[in-house]
C-alpha cells in the first residue's frame, strides 16, 4: 500500500481523485460494471479472435474452400434480395396497418406474434411442414394434384429461399412496427390537402409519404442488413446448412468451422466479412449518435 502511494506522489499530475467531484467519482463507480463486462466479454474475445486469425494461411485455406465462397454468395443474396423484399413488404404493410379499423387493430396484435415467440419452435414447425413425406404441404399437393410434391429442402436454391422466407416471417413484424411509427408521425393535414387536390394513391405516396419516410426506411434497411448477417437461426434450424453445405451463410459457416474445431478458420471467415460490416456500422453509428 505504501509503495503504491509513494508511486502516485512521484507522478507529475496531481492524484486523480483530487480533481474529481464526488459526483464524478460515483459516475466512474457506476460505469465500472459495464466497463468490466465490455473488457472481459467484448474487447478480450475480439482481440483474441483477431490474433487467432492472424496467419495468412487461414485466408488461403478459405479461398480454396468452396463452401466459403458459396456461403459468401448466399449471404449476399440473403442481404441484397431478402432484406429488400422484407423492407418493401414492411413499407407496404405499414400503410395497411395505419388504416383506422377495429379489425386491423386486432390483426396488428396477432401480426406481432412471430416476433414475440422464440424462433426455434416456429422454425422447426416450418421445417416439418416442408418435409417431403410427412409435411402438410406435400400432403395438400398430393390430395389436389395426385402428384408427389418437391423435396423442398433438398434443392439448395429452394432451401435458401425458404430460409429467407423464415427470416422474413420472423422479423417482418418488427420492421413494420417501426415503419408504422414513422408513418403515423406524418402530419395528417398533408394528406387531407392532397385529398382535396384530388391526388392519386401513388401521388400521395410519392410526394408525401416517401419524402418523410425515406431516411427512416434507409436506416432500417441498413440496420436490418447488419443484424441479418448474424442471423444464425433461420438457416441453421431450417436447413442445417445442407444439402451438401450449399445453403450456409457466414453466420452458420463460422459456427460450422467452430464445431469442426477449426477456430482460426472460423475467425478468418468473420474477418473477411469486416470490410462490408464496418462501413455499415460506422454509418449507422454516425446516424444514431447524433
Amino acid at each position: 500500500m505504501a509503495i503504491t502511494l509513494s508511486g502516485d506522489q512521484s507522478m507529475p499530475a496531481p492524484p486523480l481523485s483530487s480533481r474529481l467531484t464526488p459526483a464524478q467519482v460515483w459516475g466512474i463507480v457506476l460505469l465500472a460494471p459495464y466497463l468490466l463486462v465490455f473488457l472481459a466479454f467484448v474487447v478480450y474475445p475480439v482481440c483474441y479472435g483477431l490474433w487467432l486469425a492472424r496467419a495468412p494461411s487461414n485466408y488461403v485455406a478459405l479461398y480454396h474452400d468452396p463452401i466459403f465462397a458459396r456461403a459468401a454468395i448466399n449471404t449476399l443474396i440473403f442481404l441484397v434480395i431478402g432484406i429488400n423484399i422484407k423492407m418493401l413488404i414492411a413499407l407496404f404493410l405499414s400503410g395497411f396497418f395505419a388504416q383506422q379499423r377495429t379489425w386491423i387493430k386486432w390483426l396488428s396484435v396477432i401480426f406481432i406474434l412471430p416476433w414475440a415467440v422464440p424462433s426455434i419452435p416456429t422454425i422447426l414447425s416450418v421445417r416439418f411442414m416442408l418435409n417431403p413425406e410427412w409435411g402438410v404441404i406435400n400432403h395438400l399437393i398430393f390430395s389436389f394434384t395426385g402428384d408427389d410434391g418437391p423435396n423442398w429442402l433438398n434443392d439448395p436454391t429452394v432451401a435458401l429461399a425458404m430460409a429467407i422466407g423464415v427470416h422474413i416471417w420472423k422479423s417482418l413484424p418488427f420492421w413494420t412496427l417501426i415503419l408504422i411509427t414513422g408513418r403515423l408521425a406524418i402530419a395528417h393535414d398533408l394528406f387531407e390537402a392532397a385529398e382535396v387536390d384530388g391526388a392519386s394513391w401513388w401521388q400521395k405516396f410519392r410526394y408525401i409519404t416517401w419524402p418523410s419516410m425515406q431516411t427512416l426506411y434507409v436506416t432500417c434497411t441498413l440496420l436490418s442488413m447488419i443484424w441479418t448477417l448474424g442471423d444464425f437461426n433461420s438457416v441453421y434450424l431450417l436447413t442445417g446448412g445442407g444439402p451438401a453445405d450449399l445453403t450456409h451463410v457466414l453466420a452458420t459457416l463460422g459456427i460450422r468451422y467452430l464445431r469442426l474445431d477449426q477456430l482460426s478458420l472460423a475467425m478468418a471467415s468473420i474477418v473477411c466479412a469486416m470490410p462490408f460490416v464496418l462501413p455499415l456500422v460506422y454509418f449507422m453509428m454516425k446516424r444514431l449518435s447524433r
Binding site: P22, W26, Y44, I110, F128, T219, Y257, S289
Partner: protein, 288 residues
C-alpha cells in the same frame, strides 16, 4: 366519416374494405400458419400429426401429459431445463438492468468524463452481429473456465443485451429535466439518494421495457445456449428442442408440444408489457 345510424350504402366503401381484406387475409394466414401447425401437432395423436390433416380426428392433450410427466427419453429433464431457462432469463434481466441503469445514470446525469466514448463503444457492440461474436466468445468462456456453467450464458447474454439497454436508458434519462437533480442537490441529497429517490422512480417505464427486453432475449436465445452449455441437466429448453433433431425418428408431436409450452411464457410476457415495449423500444430502436 359517416354518422352512425345513417346507413348510406356506398360501393366505394365496399371496394375499399374488400381491398383491405384482400391484404388482411393473406397477412393473417402468413402469420398464423407456422404457429397453428405447431399447435396442431401439440393436440394431435402421432398418426394424425403425420397424416397432414388440418384438424385432428381425435384432438387430445395426451402429448402435454407426456411432456409434463417427462415420459420420453428426450424429455426426462424437462423441468430442470425449464428451470434453467427461467433462472438464466431472470438473472440476465436483473444484471442487465443493474449494469445498464448504473451506466446510463452515470453517462446522462453525472456526465462522467469519457461517458460519450463508452456510449459509442456500447453502440458499436450493439452492431456486431451476434453470431460473429459467438465464435470468439465461445473460446473466451473456455479460457475463463466457464463452459457448461450457467454463468457463461448469463454473462454472454448480459454482454449482448446491455449495449442496447444503455442506449435506450440514456436516451430516456436525457429527457428528464436537469432541474430535478439540481433541486435534490440543493436539498442536500447525495448522489446515491438522487439515483434511488429521483432517478429510478422516474425511469420506471423504460426500466420495465428494458427488463422485459433482456428477459425475452435470454429466454429466446438458441445459438449461445447451444454453444456454451452441453450437459443435459445444464442446457436450456431451446437447446433441448434442438437436440430432438439428433434422432432419425424424432417424436415431432412431442417436440412441437414442448416448443408450444416454451413459446407461451415469452408471448404472455410480451403481451403483458406490450404498452411499454412498443413505446420504449421502437422509440429507441430507430431514431429518425
Amino acid at each position: 366519416m359517416k354518422l352512425p345510424g345513417v346507413s348510406e350504402f356506398s360501393w366505394r366503401d365496399v371496394a375499399t374494405e374488400a381491398r383491405l381484406l384482400l391484404i388482411g387475409i393473406p397477412v393473417f394466414l402468413w402469420t398464423m400458419i407456422p404457429i397453428y401447425h405447431m399447435f396442431l401437432f401439440a393436440i394431435s395423436p402421432k398418426e394424425d400429426a403425420f397424416s397432414g390433416k388440418l384438424w385432428p380426428d381425435h384432438p387430445t392433450l395426451h402429448n402435454f401429459e407426456i411432456v409434463f410427466k417427462q415420459q420420453h427419453y428426450f424429455l426426462r429433464d424437462f423441468y430442470v431445463q425449464f428451470w434453467n431457462s427461467t433462472l438464466i432469463a431472470a438473472a440476465v434481466g436483473a444484471l442487465t438492468l443493474f449494469i445498464a441503469t448504473a451506466a446510463a445514470f452515470s453517462i446522462s446525469r453525472l456526465k462522467v468524463p469519457g461517458g460519450r466514448m463508452v456510449l459509442n463503444l456500447a453502440l458499436f457492440t450493439y452492431f456486431i452481429p451476434a453470431a460473429f461474436l459467438a465464435v470468439p466468445m465461445y473460446r473466451t468462456m473456455g479460457n475463463y473456465g466457464l463452459l457448461n456453467n450457467h454463468w457463461s450464458l448469463i454473462l454472454a447474454m448480459v454482454t449482448i443485451a446491455s449495449p442496447y439497454a444503455i442506449w435506450v436508458l440514456k436516451q430516456a434519462s436525457d429527457k428528464l429535466p436537469v432541474e430535478l437533480d439540481e433541486a435534490a442537490v440543493m436539498d442536500g441529497a447525495t448522489t446515491l439518494q438522487i439515483f434511488r429517490l429521483v432517478y429510478l422512480p422516474l425511469m420506471m417505464p423504460s426500466l420495465v421495457a428494458i427488463g422485459t427486453y433482456a428477459v425475452l432475449l435470454a429466454w429466446n436465445e438458441y445459438l449461445y445456449a447451444f454453444l456454451l452449455l452441453s450437459n443435459d441437466r445444464e442446457i436450456t429448453l431451446p437447446v433441448a428442442l434442438g437436440n430432438f433433431l439428433a434422432a432419425d425418428d424424432s417424436p415431432w408431436e412431442l417436440l412441437m408440444t414442448t416448443g408450444f409450452i416454451y413459446a407461451l411464457p415469452p408471448a404472455a410476457v410480451y403481451y403483458a408489457f406490450r404498452r411499454y415495449m412498443v413505446g420504449g423500444l421502437t422509440a429507441g430502436a430507430v431514431k429518425s
